[in-house]
C-alpha cells in the first residue's frame, strides 16, 4: 500500500503548532517512515507538488486573517482528501482574534506608520468558518500525544475521539492542590477542555484556558466564583477574552459579562436543579 501523503500549511500563527511535529525529535524520523511528508516548508526544501498538490491529509495551522488566506484555504480544501485544523488559531481564531473586538484601522495605524501597505481582514477566524474541516485539535499548542493520535486515527480511517471534558478532572486525579480553592487564583480549569496535562496547576499557577472551552462548561458560574475572589465583572471579561476569545462559548459569555459590568443587564440567575416530580429531594 502506498504511503499516505501529508502536507503541513501555515497561516496566521506563531509557528508553534507545526513545531509540535519538528520537536517529535527521533519520532519525526519514524513518522517519515510511515507517511510521505510531501509538503512541509518548515521541514524540507522538497516541495512535493506544491501547496495545492493533491494530498491525503493536510494539516493546517494558524487562522484566516488576510484575503489571500481565504483563497489559499479553499484551494487546499479542494485538493486534500482530509483537512485537519490544529491549534487555537486554526480552531477558534487564536489570540489575534482579539482584533475582532475592535477596529482594524486603529490597529494598523497604531502599529504601522504606513498602514496602506498592510493587507489584513478585519477579523481573524478559524478554518471552519471558511471550509469543511474533517478533524480539529485544540490547544495553544496542541498536545503532541493528541497530535499523534489524530494522525494515526486519520491514517487508520477511523474518527479520532478527543476527550472534551474539563481539565479539572485530570488535575484532581493527578493530586494537585487546587489553586482556586487553596490560593484564590482565578483558575480557568473548570471550564477548559482537557488535553494539556494540567500544566499550570502543576506549575502552581492558574490555568488561562489555552485549550478552549470544555463541552459542558458553566461559564457564568465560573465568573461568579471569580467575583468571590474579589475580581470585578470586567475582570471576568478579560479572563474570557484571551487565547480562545473567539470560541463561541467564551465570546457569548464575555459579551454577557461585559453588559453586566456596564450595568446594562444582570446575569441570568444561577441554575438550580429541580428534581422531577415524585422524587423526594
Amino acid at each position: 500500500m502506498a504511503k499516505a501523503r501529508i502536507a503541513v500549511h501555515k497561516f496566521s500563527s506563531c509557528d508553534g503548532c507545526q513545531l509540535q511535529f519538528l520537536t517529535l525529535e527521533e519520532e519525526l524520523l519514524q513518522l517519515a517512515e510511515r507517511v510521505e511528508i510531501s509538503y512541509f516548508v518548515e521541514a524540507t526544501s522538497n516541495l512535493g507538488d506544491g501547496p495545492y498538490g493533491s494530498y491525503d491529509v493536510s494539516f493546517v495551522e494558524g487562522s484566516v486573517s488576510t484575503p489571500d488566506e481565504v483563497e489559499r484555504i479553499r484551494k487546499i480544501r479542494d485538493n486534500s482528501r482530509m483537512v485537519v485544523a490544529i491549534g487555537a488559531c486554526a480552531t477558534a481564531g487564536g489570540i489575534q482574534a482579539l482584533r475582532n473586538w475592535g477596529d482594524l484601522q486603529s490597529y494598523k495605524t497604531s502599529v504601522y506608520p504606513q498602514p496602506e501597505h498592510i493587507e489584513a481582514l478585519p477579523t481573524s477566524t478559524p478554518f471552519s468558518e471558511h471550509i469543511r474541516v474533517d478533524a480539529q485539535l485544540a490547544g495553544c499548542p496542541p498536545n503532541q500525544g493528541q497530535l499523534k493520535y489524530v494522525l494515526s486515527s486519520v491514517l487508520a480511517g477511523v474518527q479520532a475521539r478527543i476527550p472534551r471534558e474539563s481539565i479539572c478532572l485530570q488535575c484532581k486525579r493527578d493530586g494537585n492542590v487546587c489553586v482556586l480553592v487553596a490560593q484564590e487564583q482565578p483558575c480557568m480549569g473548570p471550564i477548559t477542555k482537557t488535553g494539556c496535562g494540567a500544566l499550570c496547576p502543576h506549575q502552581e499557577r492558574d490555568c488561562y484556558s489555552c485549550f478552549g472551552p470544555a463541552d459542558t462548561a458553566n461559564i457564568d458560574a465560573m465568573g461568579r466564583r471569580f467575583m468571590g475572589t474579589g475580581m470585578p465583572p470586567g475582570g471576568v471579561v478579560h479572563r474570557l477574552r484571551f487565547i480562545y476569545n473567539w470560541a463561541p462559548q467564551y465570546r457569548e459569555a464575555s459579551q454577557r459579562w461585559l453588559d453586566h459590568a456596564g450595568g446594562f443587564r444582570t446575569l441570568p440567575p444561577a441554575v438550580t436543579v429541580t428534581p422531577p416530580s415524585g422524587v423526594q429531594p
Binding site: 501555515k10 496566521s12 500563527s13 506563531c14 509557528d15 508553534g16 503548532c17 507545526q18 513545531l19 509540535q20 519538528l22 520537536t23 525529535e25 527521533e26 519525526l28 524520523l29 517519515a32 511528508i37 516548508v41 518548515e42 521541514a43 524540507t44 526544501s45 522538497n46 516541495l47 486573517s65 488576510t66 488566506e69 487564536g94 489570540i95 489575534q96 482579539l98 482584533r99 475592535g102 486603529s106 490597529y107 494598523k108 495605524t109 497604531s110 502599529v111 504601522y112 506608520p113 504606513q114 501597505h117 498592510i118 489584513a120 481573524s124 495553544c140 499548542p141 494539556c196 496535562g197 500544566l199 499550570c200 502543576h202 506549575q203 499557577r205 488561562y208 478579560h238 484571551f242 487565547i243
Partner: protein, 440 residues
C-alpha cells in the same frame, strides 16, 4: 492618545526617534526579488508577507501578569526569549531586583531554549544545505548518528523547558519576578545527570560542524550583542558593538531606528543609519573572553579564527553556544538548592521598563509603559529578525555579485542558504525564497 504617547516616548528617549513601535511577523513566507542589469543589482527586496497580528496593540490594558503568557505566542520557537525580555522590563518598571538564585533560574531556563533552538536550526535547517540534502530526514539516511545526536540535544533542551515551564512551546512557568514554581531537587538531580551525559555529545557536535566545508565569505558589518560583566550573555548586560557602542538597554532608542518599507510587514532597523548584525556570531565575536574555559578550549580547536565576519560561521557559532549552554546548565544544576521562594512578590507602580535578552537569533528588545494598577499602557517590541533584515539584504546583494556566474537555480540555493545563516525564523527558513531573477 496614541500619538500623544508616542511623542512623549520620543521626548523621553532624546533626539533620535524610534519611528513607531512595530512588531514584525516574520515566521511565515518571504520572498527575495532581485533585479540585475549589466552585472549590477538594480533591485533587491527581501519581502516578508507574514500577516500582521498586532500584538503591541492588544497588549494594551492587559495586566503585568498576563504579559509573559501573551508574548510567548509571538514566536513558537523562542517563547522563552519573549518571556524573559518582558519579565525583565516589567521588573525594571516596578523597581524589582531579583535575587541571585532567581537570576540563576532564569539563566537555566534560557539554556534550555538555546539548546533546543540551536539544535533544531543546525540539524533541520542549516546543515542539509552544506551536505547537499533537501532536509534532515533524507540527511538522516546517510548521517544517522549525526542527526540522532542533534535530535537528542534538541530533546535535552526541550526536557529542561518542560521541567521549568510545563512544555517547550508556550511554557507556563515564568512570571515577572521569577517563576511560579522552582524545580524540585529530584528534578534538578535528574536533569544534571542528563546534562552530564550530553556534554560529550555537545563537544562532538562542535567538532562535526567545525569540520564541514563552509563557504568562505567576508561581510564588513557591525556585530551587536549584549555583554555582561562576568558571564556569557543571555538575560542581562549592556548593548555593545565591536565598533565601540556601549549603552544601557534603556538607551536603545537613541541609537537604533526602526522604519517601515513598503515591501514588508516586518520593519527594518538601523544602528546610526547603518545595517548591523545580531545573532550567535556577533554574540561570540563580542564575548570571546566570556566563554567558560572548556568552551574556549574547544573554540581554539575549530578551524576558524575568531572574531568572524563570515555569516556561514553561524552554524558553528550555534554549536559552540550549545556547548556553552550545556556547561552553564551543569554548573547551575550542581549548585542548585530549591530557593525558599521562586519569585519576588510584585507591587505594581506606574513606570517604564526596558528588557533586552539574547534570543537564539539575536537581541530581543522590549519596552513597556505600565500604569499604577500594573496595566500595560504602551508596548514596543523589536525582534532580532527585523534588526537583521537590512543586513540580510546587504549580504544578499554582495552574494549575488560574487556569484553572478551561477545559474538561476544554483544562485537561488546559494542565496537561500545565505538567508538561513540568520535563522530568520523556522517556517520561512527552509524554503524561504521564491527567487525571481530578471536579467537584462
Amino acid at each position: 492618545m496614541n500619538d500623544v504617547n508616542r511623542q512623549a516616548e520620543f521626548a523621553a528617549v532624546g533626539a533620535r526617534r524610534v519611528d513607531v513601535p512595530i512588531l514584525t511577523r516574520v515566521e511565515g513566507e518571504g520572498a527575495l526579488h532581485v533585479g540585475l542589469e549589466g552585472g549590477q543589482v538594480t533591485d533587491l527586496r527581501l519581502r516578508i508577507f507574514e500577516p500582521p497580528r498586532f500584538f503591541e496593540h492588544f497588549l494594551r490594558s492587559r495586566t503585568w501578569r498576563e504579559v509573559p503568557d501573551i508574548v510567548a505566542r509571538i514566536c513558537g520557537i523562542c517563547p522563552v526569549a519573549y518571556q524573559m525580555s518582558a519579565c525583565n522590563a516589567i521588573e525594571m518598571a516596578f523597581g524589582v531586583e531579583v535575587p541571585p538564585p532567581i537570576r540563576d533560574l532564569k539563566r537555566l531556563f534560557y539554556c534550555g531554549e538555546w539548546i533546543e533552538s540551536h539544535a533544531l536550526h543546525i540539524h533541520l535547517l542549516a546543515v542539509p544545505d552544506f551536505l547537499g540534502y533537501p532536509d534532515a530526514i533524507t540527511l538522516a539516511k546517510d548521517y544517522p548518528e549525526a542527526v540522532r545526536r542533534g535530535m537528542h540535544l534538541q530533546g535535552l533542551g526541550n526536557g529542561l523547558l518542560q521541567v521549568m515551564g510545563g512544555r517547550p512551546v508556550n511554557p507556563v512557568g515564568a512570571v515577572p519576578g521569577g517563576f511560579y514554581r522552582a524545580p524540585s531537587r529530584t528534578e534538578a538531580r535528574d536533569m544534571l545527570r542528563k546534562f552530564r551525559e550530553a556534554l560529550p555529545l555537545a563537544e562532538q557536535l562542535v567538532r562535526w560542524v567545525g569540520g564541514l566545508q563552509l563557504p568562505d565569505v567576508t561581510r564588513e558589518v557591525t556585530s551587536v550583542s549584549l555583554r555582561a560583566d562576568d558571564e556569557y550573555p543571555m538575560n542581562y548586560g549592556r548593548i555593545v558593538s565591536d565598533r565601540g557602542l556601549d549603552i544601557a538597554v534603556s538607551e536603545f532608542g537613541q541609537h537604533f531606528r526602526e522604519f517601515q518599507v513598503p515591501h514588508s510587514t516586518a520593519l527594518h532597523a538601523l544602528l546610526h543609519d547603518e545595517p548591523y548584525w545580531v545573532g550567535p556570531v556577533p554574540r561570540l565575536n563580542n564575548n570571546l573572553d566570556r566563554l567558560p574555559p572548556s568552551t574556549a578550549k574547544l573554540l581554539g580547536e575549530t578551524p576558524v579564527s575568531w572574531p568572524s565576519q563570515n555569516p556561514y560561521h553561524s552554524a558553528l557559532a550555534r554549536a559552540i553556544e550549545i556547548h556553552v549552554a550545556v556547561v552553564e546548565a551543569i554548573r547551575l544544576l550542581e549548585s542548585y538548592g530549591t530557593p525558599p521562594k521562586p519569585h519576588v512578590d510584585i507591587v505594581p507602580r506606574a513606570g517604564v521598563g526596558y528588557g533586552c535578552t539574547e534570543a537564539p537569533r539575536g537581541i530581543l528588545w522590549h519596552r513597556y509603559e505600565l500604569d499604577d494598577q500594573g496595566k500595560v499602557v504602551h508596548a514596543t517590541i523589536v525582534p532580532p529578525t527585523s534588526q537583521n533584515q537590512a543586513q540580510m539584504e546587504a549580504d544578499m546583494r554582495a552574494s549575488i555579485l560574487e556569484n553572478l556566474h551561477l545559474s538561476d537555480g544554483d544562485l537561488r540555493l546559494r542565496l537561500e542558504s545565505g538567508i538561513r545563516n540568520y535563522d530568520p525564523c523556522i517556517s520561512c527558513s527552509t524554503h524561504f525564497l521564491k527567487l525571481t531573477v530578471e536579467r537584462r
